[in-house]
Assembly symmetry: C2
Homo-oligomer: 393 residues x 2
């Protein structure tokens, strides 16, 4: 099980900082720096599958192909997306500046940005922030906590995680409160570990861990241009983990952070767990779960504490049979323990369902196989509309 | 061009009625009946592509395969969906009751229902409503107007249309204010014409007319279990239309009704026209338009009068290149006449965009071909959340 912790400085071999550069209109920390001091660094990254990608994503992906990442700089207050060749230059200059300050090569530095799309970053402000962050780097709890705070945008709380393995530990931080969708979310995440890994093993573990956690977190169906999940391993424990055990630990860390993201999703009043069972295979279950997680009608009903199973069933019915074979007359839907729909028709009385808890559990049984898939989403509320209609102003 | 009119009784050969059966909790007309008196009846239907279909859809589809439809009974106040074998019996009994009252065969009667899913209809009330409707049938404007009124659920106004062709005329009515999505909407629509048609020609014309109108109307991405569009031709004009001309007339009638549906979409404060031009082909343009029409972030921004082109571009980027080839660095986005994004980057100042009119026009140029596709949607508002969180209570 994962537990919240101080974040990226939990494992030995890491220093981090979070400072106020002045990028955010309303003040507060807005620039984070994480440094991997080794002794045996390894790294991996997973990025948005959006075809429109922000400059920092393009740069960091290229850097990871050329070198092991030793440091990552993250900023809130601007996404540096859709900013053309100038934006690419800005990302490059940021990496070069950090590299020079830390005695690294530019390709050993990753860059991640979050905030409004379509505006250039104020580079003087940002680079001055880097100069503030470097001397503030610390391996203690404050270093991790300040970094987790600095990457927040509309996040109301910082998100951190700690997972203890046999002889190694994983720490992590993440941000993201909207645009959480498949192929990642508008989220930045940095995971650190003192385990002894090679780049290749780190990449395999990260991809598998993300696949069933962040990739199954879908707050509003919107995919960002900036999603970045990085794994940095220091090797400071001297312990080479069992790959399966480490992947499971990493999955647990990602699940813990993903769960925190949903709990803080913009304006949400319910966290909704959608479990599809009896699916013919995992992809069928995922297609059904994702479809329900994107129904505005269902999500608005949950906001209204209405166990409206008709909106679940009608949404399940929109999934093509080529993606998910099932017989509509076999569908069962259970909401918070009450099977309100049985055999595609009326089940137990909806009045029995208590919708007041923050967590809502929806189980959809397709009776078409053995696979089970779990996906988390949140409800559609007045506050979601409010935050997202007023965000850029 | 289509013009609003009295609806289904515009063409000769039709009578209709709308009465208060008592199906709606809050009163008002809730049962409509439309009768085709010929002399040369023809009919066609298009239905939801949802795999979970309401009993009336299953029944009416089967009836259309066996006979030319001579009458259709429509009710609001209950969808008769997910009601199992009993629901199917209820739909069958309704058709039989109407048939007996009008001297028709049951398979000459169509049934359409709209309202809450998962509850059986009060059959005594419904059949008594049929008995009220039959003597009220009238070929005049009041007959059409009452029918259009009776099929409303959360619709704030009835929707009717009239299209005049050379020697023939088309009338129509529709309802639907939420769950408007591809493969139709939670909508019921009856189109009537005095043109001289055969069933086959009617089916061809209807399918083509629906494809570029109702199928490109997407208020909230949710597809209903009950969508039904019926075309009834009486042949009373004696005029056999040119197929292309008639299809265009029917398309115009459907477009007029679809536009009215969007204008009355639940809680909407803006009608959004999304035009994708420069697409490699029609399906590519449609994939891009539909993707943007489903972005809650973009739709909430429009509610906030925010020309947030970053949310358009990031959504366009989620469309797989296999569906829509384009270069993200070639994208132009124009909102209400201002090209705010040019070449995938910052264009003219967003401050120049006036978002206060009800209609918002978004033009996305992919610069990847010659195809243009237009789709209508609406914004995501507090009222949408309110109506859909409180609907079943």
């Amino acid at each position: 099980m994962s537990t919240p912790g101080v974040g990226v400085t939990v494992p030995a071999g890491f220093r981090s900082a979070g400072v106020t550069a002045g990028l955010k209109a309303h003040g507060g920390r807005d620039l984070a720096l994480v440094v991997n001091d080794g002794p045996h660094p390894a790294s991996a990254g997973v990025f948005t599958s959006n075809r429109v990608v922000a400059a920092p994503v393009t740069l960091t992906r290229a850097h990871l192909e050329r070198a092991t990442m030793r440091a990552v700089v993250l900023n809130s207050g601007g996404a540096n997306a859709c900013t053309g060749a100038e934006g690419m230059e800005d990302a490059r200059a940021t990496a070069a500046h950090v590299a020079a300050a830390l005695g690294l090569l530019p390709e050993q530095v990753g860059v991640a940005s979050t905030g409004l799309i379509g505006e250039r970053l104020p580079m003087e402000t940002l680079l001055a922030g880097v100069d503030l962050a470097v001397p503030a780097l610390a391996a203690d709890a404050a270093g991790g906590a300040c970094a987790a705070d600095a990457i927040r945008t509309t996040d109301t709380v910082p998100k951190t995680v700690q997972v203890d393995g046999p002889g190694w530990v994983i720490g992590g931080m993440a941000k993201g409160a909207g645009m959480l969708a498949p192929g990642l979310a508008t989220m930045l995440c940095v995971l650190t570990t003192d385990a002894l890994l090679e780049d290749e093993g780190a990449a395999l573990a990260l991809r598998e861990a993300v696949r069933t956690t962040f990739d199954r977190t879908d707050s509003d169906g919107c995919m960002s241009t900036n999603d970045t999940v990085l794994l940095l391993a220091s090797g400071a424990s001297g312990s080479a983990p069992d790959p399966t055990e480490f992947t499971e630990g990493l999955r647990s860390a990602c699940a813990g952070l993903a769960r925190q993201l949903i709990a803080d999703a913009e304006g949400a009043s319910h966290d909704i767990e959608i479990v599809v069972q009896g699916a013919s295979d995992e992809s069928a279950g995922e297609a059904v779960a994702r479809s329900v997680a994107r129904s505005n009608l269902f999500k608005a009903a949950v906001f209204g504490n209405d166990p409206n199973w008709g909106r679940v069933v009608s949404q399940v019915g929109t999934v093509p049979s080529s993606l998910a074979p099932f017989d509509p007359e076999d569908l069962d839907v259970t909401i918070n323990g009450v099977t309100v729909c049985r055999g595609g028709g009326v089940g137990d009385p909806r009045e029995l369902v208590d919708m007041t808890p923050r967590e809502v559990h929806v189980v959809i049984d397709l009776h078409a196989g053995e696979a089970t898939v779990t996906l988390w989403t949140s409800d559609l509320t007045h506050d979601y509309v409010h935050e997202n209609s007023a965000y850029s102003s």
